[in-house]
């Protein structure tokens, strides 16, 4: 007990020192910053995301079928309005509807191997503001998200400052999520399964980034993220097979996560560029991963349109508590396929086309209309594969 308390105190002191050091660095920098929109302007972007996942290899699935099929439709709206020359307000709204096999199995709606439970929805929104003061940028966002098994209230702060004639920029982001999760319990037999109410899950994260213009053709960005999750961290419907009997998964009440990332943007010619990124991740559950993304971009029609071809490779080890099947009860147990060892490839193609002005019926008068379409396909070596389509329209008025 005393050891645990000391550990918490030491963590708090380390975090305090880190924040103090970062603030010290930031306040000693003189800078200039990214431009905002013209006063009175509004930008709107609507985006429709559709995600379909197929898999029969999920060891966490209650009826041993392994089915992890998911189908998600997620329309999003982003609005940004410039209220003064140096202040912008922004909002986003998301409405997810989805069908997930994993939800059907425990709540008995349609049965383990039947159609997924339909009609589920998540509503999420954010409201924020960004202000430039003396060439630095300060932002704050409040967020809310709600679905049948999850509620989230979150707040984030962003700070960015550039200096050396905008050649060097540093950014600091702080995020805090006060989430509540409902978890299935008493899952054997499945007919006795019921969902519990309101376990707390608190997540705080700190992001630090630095970007540097290297040459007229090169830019690099280095970043690091530390996130700490506390509370009930199990999945709503995650189960494990213990010598033939299904029980709910059990995971530690805390997870400390670290990531380091680097990105290099390089101009190959007047109209082509490379965007290469790497992220190394590790956490105290024993999971380590490497993610590499390379994109080749082509500028079209004098930079009005662009085309992107990207390939992402992700490789991860499993968490220490993962097993496909357990022979006896252990303190921590999970068979969640997302926490298992796997690697995946994900090619993406994205095309953005500038459509110009659009006027109709004397009431619609918008400019810089842009239509963006993106298609991604992802395949894991475990058999799970997914496809997602994104189509969006943005405009100014």
């Amino acid at each position: 007990m005393v050891g645990k308390l000391l550990e918490v105190v030491v963590d708090a002191i380390k975090l305090q020192r880190l924040i103090f050091s970062i603030l010290l660095i930031l306040t000693s920098i003189q800078s200039a910053f990214a431009e905002m929109m013209e006063k009175g302007k509004t930008r709107v972007k609507t985006l429709l995301n559709a995600y379909s996942q197929k898999s029969t290899s999920g060891k966490q699935v209650l009826d041993n079928s392994g089915i992890e099929d998911v189908l998600v439709f997620e329309p999003q709206i982003f609005v940004k309005h410039q209220i003064t020359e140096d202040t912008e307000i922004n909002a986003s709204f998301v409405l997810d509807t989805w069908t997930a096999e994993s939800d059907t199995i425990l709540d008995g709606n349609t049965g383990a191997s039947g159609e997924g439970k339909t009609g589920q929805a998540r509503f999420a929104s954010t409201l924020g503001a960004r202000k430039e003061i003396d060439k630095a940028s300060y932002g704050m966002n409040l967020g809310f998200s709600s679905e049948y098994d999850y509620t989230s209230k979150n707040i984030s702060f962003d700070f960015e400052r550039s200096f050396a004639e905008d050649n060097f920029t540093v950014g600091l982001g702080l995020q805090y999520y006060a989430d509540t999760v409902n978890l299935f319990q008493d899952i054997t037999p499945a007919t006795s399964a019921h969902i519990s109410e309101g376990f707390n899950r608190d997540i705080y994260a700190i992001n630090l980034s630095a970007s540097q213009i290297l040459t007229r053709k090169d830019l690099i960005v280095l970043g690091t993220t530390y996130a700490n999750s506390k509370g009930r961290l199990e999945s709503t419907a995650g189960t494990v097979n213990i010598a033939g009997t299904r029980e709910v998964e059990v995971l530690p009440g805390e997870r400390k996560r670290n990531a380091f990332s680097a990105k290099w943007v390089h101009s190959l010619s007047e109209n082509t560029a490379l965007n290469l990124g790497h992220r190394y991740y590790f956490d105290d559950w024993g999971l380590k991963s490497n993610s590499i993304r390379g994109a080749y971009l082509i500028s079209l029609r004098d930079d009005l349109d662009f085309l992107e071809f990207a390939l992402r490779y992700h490789s991860q080890g499993s968490v220490d508590y993962y097993k496909d099947r357990f022979s006896s009860t252990e303190r921590y147990m999970t068979s969640d396929s997302d926490l298992s060892k796997f690697h995946s490839y994900e090619p993406t193609v994205l095309y953005s086309r500038h459509l110009g002005e659009y006027k109709a019926y004397d009431i619609i008068d918008v400019e810089d209309v842009e239509w963006t379409n993106s298609l991604s396909y992802s395949k894991r070596n475990t058999g799970l594969h997914s496809i997602y389509l994104q189509t969006g329209i943005s405009f100014f008025f």
């Binding site: 880190l18 660095i25 985006l47 995600y51 998911v70 999003q76 982003f78 994993s102 939800d103 998540r122 967020g143 998200s145 049948y148 098994d149 999850y150 050396a164 004639e165 905008d166 050649n167 982001g173 995020q175 997540i203 630090l208 630095a210 970007s211 213009i213 290297l214 007229r216 053709k217 690099i220 280095l222 970043g223 993220t225 996130a227 709503t236 419907a237 996560r257 990531a259 990332s261 943007v265 101009s267 965007n275 992220r279 991740y281 956490d283 991963s289 993610s291 971009l297 500028s299 930079d303 992700h314 991860q316 499993s318 997302d338 995946s344 993406t348 994205l350 997914s386 997602y388 969006g392």
Partner: protein, 67 residues
């Protein structure tokens, strides 16, 4: 912390400034660090909730049940 300080100092000290007038290529859309930020939000969410890792983006594992 040492690594962080090292990277910051390295970035501060090792590069000559590129004047504004020479940043024509860098101003292009294809040279932005993220040329499609709204699309990236969903992509980051998919990766954060379908993989064991987070970081390098906005999604940090909160705000979604994501079975």
């Amino acid at each position: 912390m040492k690594t962080l300080t090292f990277f910051l100092l390295l970035s501060l000290s090792s590069c000559a400034n590129v004047p504004q007038i020479d940043r024509g290529l860098l101003a292009k859309r294809i040279m932005q660090v993220d040329p499609h930020p709204e699309e990236t939000i969903f992509q980051d969410e998919v990766h954060a909730f379908r993989e064991g890792a987070i970081g390098g983006g906005k999604a940090v594992g909160g705000g979604c049940g994501c079975n």
